[in-house]
């Protein structure tokens, strides 16, 4: 690391673990892959993370099983718990680690969700977090009372009003719990009236995470979030540019540049010897890209069902349907020109003599960090001290054991470098992350809980 890179010589790496519950990046075909729903799997992952002094344990949110071409996607892991209920159970068997629930602002209502988050926060002694996400599609809405009621352009409007309403609910009890303020909210999205039922936890409010990446999403985060769960967890320059962009947006809304912590989602693949790194990398990729998964991913580009092809044979000879790439329902994917992609992939296959499956692996976006524990520790330290991120939200490529190597091999290397805590010094998630008090609780006692807008 060159000295000019070191903007923050004392910065520490913060780790979270993201228990994904869907996606092909969690390997299920290896004997070490455990149940995706049994409580013991979650117990193993969270207690490993707590042993590794992680800041947080994350759960995603399921609102509908993913589909492709009108059928339920059957290739990947699926079947996962309700986030808040599961985190509450996990709160009962842990003492320090933060507990972050992904919950959307469209198919929930503020009085109910704010109460459930506050309940988790109280029972865990101030360890709750909320990864606030937005949904607008009618397809998800088919599982809910109001259906797909929200226009795309209104989803951030609703999300902003939702978070402000949640904060007002959390602010309604006096610090000594001797007075409760009745709350009336009338905005374009909400018309509610309630007497909130819970005081604040030791950390004030649940920590608010946000994951949006569009300009609107970034502004939304700058205005509302404590932590950004970003997508920029692989390429240093890209991560630094993102972090600088967020700092600029923070200044624009009058917040200090370190008021949001950035924790990119990432994957970490470790091998103890440098000579074993490549083999380990291949092993992980081959587990993640089974033949059928490769056919499915290539099928998305070709715009048709390719499941009858041989994944170890060549790419299809026919051309893709020249339409935008169809979306796997319930997964995010950017639209690109399929014919151009096919042309590139064929050239790649010809040049390197690759099968369809090998092309799918080769063209998959490189994700995260690969190396020996020492190599990866050096790189993570560089990211943190350069201000490219404040930590990493690690998705194990296999559960329950995928975190073991990170805790046993990588954490000690980081500790040796002085970039990782050697014990918990706080009992709250806000404390672990080094965050200031909640946005509405920084000024006078009579804080502004206005929810207008």
């Amino acid at each position: 690391m060159s000295s000019s890179d070191v903007r923050r010589p004392d910065a520490q790496v913060h780790f979270g673990v993201f228990f994904q519950g869907v996606n092909h990046t969690t390997i299920w075909s290896d004997p070490a892959s455990g149940s995706q729903i049994d409580f013991e799997t979650f117990r193993h992952v969270i207690t490993t993370a707590e042993r590794g002094l992680f800041d947080a344990f994350f759960l995603g949110e399921g609102l509908r099983l993913r589909e492709q071409d009108g059928k339920i996607l059957d290739l990947d892991i699926a079947g996962r718990p309700d986030a808040i209920a599961q985190l509450s159970a996990l709160a009962g068997i842990t003492e320090h680690i933060g507990l972050v629930a992904t919950q959307n602002t469209t198919y929930n209502e503020p009085a109910d969700l704010a109460r459930r988050l506050a309940g988790l926060d109280l029972l865990s002694g101030g360890r709750a977090g909320w990864n606030a996400v937005t949904t607008d599609n009618a397809w998800t809405g088919e599982n809910f009372r109001r259906g797909g009621f929200l226009d795309h352009e209104l989803r951030y409007e609703r999300a902003g009003q939702f978070i402000r309403t949640a904060r007002a609910i959390w602010d309604s009890w006096a610090d000594d719990a001797n007075a409760v303020r009745h709350l009336d909210v009338a905005t374009s999205q909400f018309n509610i009236s309630l007497d909130p039922t819970l005081p604040r936890s030791p950390q004030g409010h649940p920590v608010i995470f946000q994951a949006g990446d569009s300009p609107t999403g970034r502004d939304f985060a700058a205005a509302n979030a404590d932590v950004i769960f970003s997508r920029h967890g692989t390429h240093f320059d890209d991560a630094l540019a993102f972090a600088n962009d967020i700092r600029t947006r923070l200044v624009a809304v009058g917040r200090p540049t370190d008021d949001i912590k950035i924790m990119p989602g990432t994957q970490i693949v470790l091998a103890q010897k440098a000579s074993e790194v490549e083999e380990k990398r291949r092993w992980v990729l081959e587990g993640q890209y089974t033949g059928q998964t490769a056919l499915s991913l290539v099928g998305l580009v070709w715009g048709r069902d390719l499941s009858n092809l041989d994944p170890d044979g060549p790419l299809p000879e026919f051309d893709p349907v020249p339409a935008p790439i169809s979306v796997t329902r319930g997964a995010a994917r950017d639209g690109k020109d399929p014919v151009a992609i096919a042309k590139e992939w064929r050239a790649l296959a010809d040049a390197k003599n690759l099968s369809l499956r090998e092309v799918a692996i080769e063209t998959s976006e490189r994700s995260g960090f690969v190396g020996t524990p020492g190599q990866v520790a050096d790189e993570l330290a560089r990211w943190i001290r350069s201000g490219a991120s404040d930590g990493f939200n690690i998705s194990p490529y296999i559960v329950p054991g995928g975190l073991d190597e990170i805790v046993e091999w990588l954490v000690p290397e980081l500790q040796e470098r002085g970039v990782y805590r050697t014990e918990y010094t706080s009992r709250t998630l806000r404390g672990h992350l080094g965050l200031r008090p909640p946005l509405t609780r920084r000024g006078s006692v009579d804080t502004d809980s206005s929810v207008a807008g």
Partner: protein, 352 residues
């Protein structure tokens, strides 16, 4: 009757509105994890078959005015208890049935098959205003939401057959999609497509509790009746299990039940009883329960003050019932359905 189940309501400090003044903890500890865990452990240690947790989005009417939602409370103790059934109230008038189904299935996994659900109507329009939904107050509306919610939740629990996860390496498939089912519920006020996001819970279906009006849809009917003869009258009943609800105030070493109630009523008068009430000696209560065991499948007890009545129940009442064989202490690893003598239901979607 082979099973006589013992349930206890553990919401707040007890059923009396002034119970919090007699609790062993300070008011500031009322909502804490420690207080919750102590109560549930005490009930489990006593040998209760199940604990219930009342709930509402509205504040409770006692002096504390606070309450953590029931699913969170039941889930929090799920992994650190091993025999007691955990049965939260989740209302059906405004809650999202899809979320309710996921939350309860998750509780069943975390508790290894000890989850239940009291499906409850909410008549107070203030709840609808808190939710921000169209207010439902007419009995027909409350009944419709209750019926449709139970139906959807039960369908979602069955929407994954037990053996959906196949891990078929040769075919590259984690799931057998033929064993996943859209529930395609279409009611008057909402539709739900499905399938669930959580696989079928360990018990297949959690144990569902309701009122006499819900008899066709639930596993256990809770009878709240102030008159003993009406409460135990089999003429009013159809199939399924029946639990009698009882407000209970026991004599304690330092004060009789009557004295205890009088002291509490000086702080705040208890509302008129809405269910069977017992106040008096321990032996009298053992006799009452022994007699009820002939007529009902279980009881749900509402202690006047949990921290005063639960120790008396644990030390004297339950051991007497176990000794005489009227009731049985659940063993670790057993599921709530087992302890109620209920079979694991066949999945409505599976092809025989």
């Amino acid at each position: 009757m082979s099973v006589f189940a013992l349930g206890i309501e553990l919401d707040g400090a007890g059923r009396h509105p002034a119970a919090w003044r007699r609790a062993n903890h300070t008011p500031t500890e009322s909502l804490s994890a420690k207080t919750l865990l102590k109560k549930v452990r005490a009930a489990e240690n006593a040998g209760f078959t199940l604990a219930t947790f009342d709930d509402s989005i509205l504040p409770p009417s006692d002096g504390i005015r606070g309450r953590v939602d029931a699913v969170n409370r039941a889930s929090f103790v799920a992994a650190t208890t091993s025999t007691i059934g955990l049965v939260p109230v989740v209302e059906t008038t405004y809650a999202e049935p899809f979320h309710t189904s996921s939350q309860l299935a998750t509780l069943d996994y975390a508790s290894r098959g000890r989850g239940g659900w009291i499906a409850a109507r909410v008549g107070d329009p203030a709840a609808g205003r808190a939710w921000g939904r169209p207010i439902a107050t007419a009995q027909a509306e409350l009944d419709r939401e209750q019926h449709d919610s139970i139906e959807v939740v039960r369908r979602l629990w069955d929407s994954w057959e037990d053996d959906v996860v196949i891990r078929d390496y040769a075919r590259g498939r984690f799931l057998d999609r033929d064993k996943l089912h859209y529930v395609d519920f279409e009611g008057e006020t909402f539709t739900v497509k499905g399938p669930a996001i959580v696989p079928r819970p360990p018990q297949g279906q959690l144990v569902v509790f309701g009122t006499e009006a819900d008899r066709d849809q639930v596993d256990v009917v809770l009878i709240a009746d102030t008159d003993r003869d009406t409460a135990i009258d089999p003429a009013n009943r159809g199939g399924g299990l029946t639990f009698i609800e009882i407000d209970v105030t026991l004599d304690t070493p330092h004060a009789s039940a009557a004295e205890r109630l009088a002291a509490l009523n000086q702080y705040e008068q208890a509302p008129n009883p809405s269910r069977l009430e017992y106040r008096g000696t321990i032996s009298g209560f053992v006799e009452l329960l022994t007699e009820l065991a002939v007529h009902a499948d279980g009881v749900r007890l509402f202690p006047t003050v949990i921290d005063e009545d639960l120790p008396a129940l644990a030390r004297y009442v339950l051991p007497a019932l176990f000794r005489s064989g009227v009731a049985h202490r659940p063993v670790p690893g057993s599921r709530l359905r087992d302890n109620l003598g209920l079979a694991r239901p066949v999945n409505r979607y599976s092809k025989v």
